[in-house]
């Protein structure tokens, strides 16, 4: 496909022009406005606001809970993706479709429902609280809400990759004497690891910015269970626009870093796929551990 010399198809200028104008007006200009506003403060002042006691605590809660939620999803998501691809069970198509529920269900609905479930008299709370473990209105509630919201990411990034694993490689490993566990650790896991990491990063990035589901279950106590997006809103409501802007700019910077690392990961995954090991090498590696 080397039709680069002259363009046969019409509409390139119009399509690209419209794309660039619309992108600039709706996305780039407003984001630029935020950075411009933040520059009124200067770097030192932004850092002073971001590293204040309350902001720092909010960042810690936000990133800590997001990390835990993404880790929970990495673990369970791997199992869910595995059983959805490899094992037959009744109602599988229904379960597969249900995995996307968190993408389709408005976050506010998730928030009030999870808060009700985990409250002291809720379906789950009534069993958990007598054990001395409170979820609703504590930082653990934030982890639960974020786990729900980001549940599909790991499953959906892993599923196609697990589907792509050729069973021949596993057979080769087994025929060379590798146990099932060795095959998993040495052949399957390395093949799906980049995708697992990508899913984790996507889940983490989404969780960091989440607001709607969290505020209902968090309790929102400053220093303890207050997330950064909520702190931005409360600053805004107190007409502290500059304070809100400073926090927003820091969040934006961190989100860009995450987006960048996701892109790098995906590029890495694609590259690995291209120069993936020949069958025999992978199989021999697995059996190497069996000797």
């Amino acid at each position: 496909m080397a039709a680069k010399t002259h363009r046969v198809l019409p509409g390139f200028g119009l399509a690209l022009g419209y794309t660039l104008v619309y992108l600039s007006l709706l996305i780039l200009l407003p984001l630029g406005g935020l950075i411009l506003k933040a520059s009124e403060l200067g770097f030192g002042q932004i850092m002073d606001i971001a590293l204040g006691e309350r902001s720092l605590a909010a960042f810690r809660v936000t990133f800590g809970a997001s990390f835990l939620a993404a880790a929970v999803n990495a673990f369970f998501g791997l199992i869910v993706a595995w059983i959805l691809v490899r094992y037959p069970f009744p109602g599988k198509r229904f379960v597969d479709a249900l995995v996307d529920l968190p993408f389709a269900l408005p976050t506010a609905v998730a928030g009030i429902t999870l808060a009700t479930l985990y409250a002291g008299n809720g379906w789950l709370g009534q069993f958990i609280e007598p054990l001395g473990f409170k979820v609703a209105y504590t930082p653990w509630g934030i982890v639960v809400a974020l786990t729900f919201i980001t549940l599909p990411f790991v499953v959906r990034t892993l599923q196609p990759v697990i589907e792509d694993i050729e069973t021949e490689v596993e057979e080769a490993a087994a025929s060379l004497g590798a146990s099932r566990w060795q095959t998993f650790v040495k052949v399957i896991f390395p093949a799906i690891f980049p995708a697992l990491l990508t899913g984790f990063a996507l889940a983490f990035a989404r969780a960091v910015g989440e607001y709607g589901s969290v505020i209902f279950i968090a309790g929102n106590l400053p220093l303890i269970s207050e997330i950064t997006p909520l702190l931005i809103i409360s600053k805004l409501e107190q007409y502290d626009v500059l304070g809100a802007t400073a926090l927003a700019v820091v969040m934006l910077g961190l989100s860009f870093l995450l987006l960048l690392s996701v892109n790098l990961l995906q590029w890495w995954t694609a590259n690995r796929h291209k120069n993936s090991e020949p069958l025999e090498v992978a199989a021999a590696k697995a059996s190497g551990g069996a000797q």
């Binding site: 509409g11 119009l14 984001l31």
Partner: protein
């Protein structure tokens, strides 16, 4: 999938994994979904119906639908235009453009709302000019539409770009060389090829538009009966300890989510069928 003993886990491992995976999904997805409807119907169907008939809930439903309909044409036109330029032509900075299209996914909804307040709020860049001309954007519906446009910006383009890249440009080039005008080519060749992908993107962006909370909440001003979408109304009712009302409104949104999932599954199934067809027809040409 063919599976032999060598490539299967022992039975007890299989059952353990199935139990762990399905329990996780039950506690984190099934139970919450069930709880929405049980809570909404906790005091019987008549009370539920009454809660839905409340004028503020009804107006919230209409505003939600209205905003979703308002953003739809913008998203479709942008999605198709961006995918057309990116998938069918070569130009410098293409991968940067693709990254920029994904940008809204990396921005917290709260920040998305904030940037429009900085531009159009009373103390914002254009605030003075807007108030002189008596135009309200923030704490009014136009601001909510802007915030929703920002949040749903990538959805359709993201679906169409890989699809149109995979389809190549042979068919369109054939149409043009046979004398079709640009518009004829688009309507007769491109649109039929991308219709399922486009519909898929529309379903996803629509679900997000109707359910968006954070971004819309920041710019809405929470004026009851005027700038309350259904998700925002859920919050108000819940904070007023009106659990039945909150969950009744929530149940509408949950039903919408279920419709979205069903529609999405059907479209996915159709798309899969068409790519399979495409692959069997074009298999020798593709590398």
């Amino acid at each position: 999938m063919k599976s032999t003993r060598a490539t299967q886990e022992p039975v007890w491992v299989r059952y353990t994994l199935l139990t762990i995976g399905l329990s996780f999904l039950f506690f984190f997805l099934g139970l919450p979904l069930l709880a929405v409807f049980v809570e909404a119907l906790a005091q019987g169907v008549p009370v539920y119906i009454e809660a839905l008939k409340e004028p503020e809930t009804a107006s919230a439903i209409w505003l939600t639908v209205g905003i979703a309909l308002a953003v739809l044409p913008f998203n479709i036109v942008f999605g198709v235009a961006a995918a057309w330029a990116i998938a069918k032509f070569e130009f410098k900075g293409k991968s940067l453009l693709i990254t920029l299209i994904d940008l809204p996914f990396a921005v917290s909804p709260v920040v998305a709302g904030l940037i429009f307040i900085l531009l159009f709020g009373s103390q914002g860049t254009f605030g003075e000019w807007l108030s002189e001309h008596d135009i309200k954007i923030i704490f009014a519906v136009p601001g909510m539409i802007l915030a929703t446009l920002f949040i749903t910006f990538p959805f359709i383009a993201r679906e169409l770009i890989p699809l149109m890249q995979a389809q190549g440009k042979d068919e369109e080039e054939a149409a043009v060389s046979l004398g079709a005008s640009g518009w004829q080519m688009f309507i007769r060749v491109t649109l039929p090829n991308i219709k399922w992908g486009l519909l898929y993107g529309v379903i996803l962006s629509n679900a997000r538009a109707m359910g968006e909370f954070g971004a819309v909440s920041v710019v809405s001003g929470h004026i009851r009966g005027e700038t309350n979408t259904l998700p925002l109304h859920v919050e108000i009712l819940y904070n007023e300890y009106n659990a039945i009302g909150a969950f009744a409104a929530a149940s509408i949104l949950a039903l919408l989510a279920l419709v979205t999932l069903v529609a999405k599954t059907i479209v996915e199934w159709r798309m899969k069928k068409e790519t399979e067809m495409l692959n069997t027809v074009l298999a020798p040409e593709k590398t």
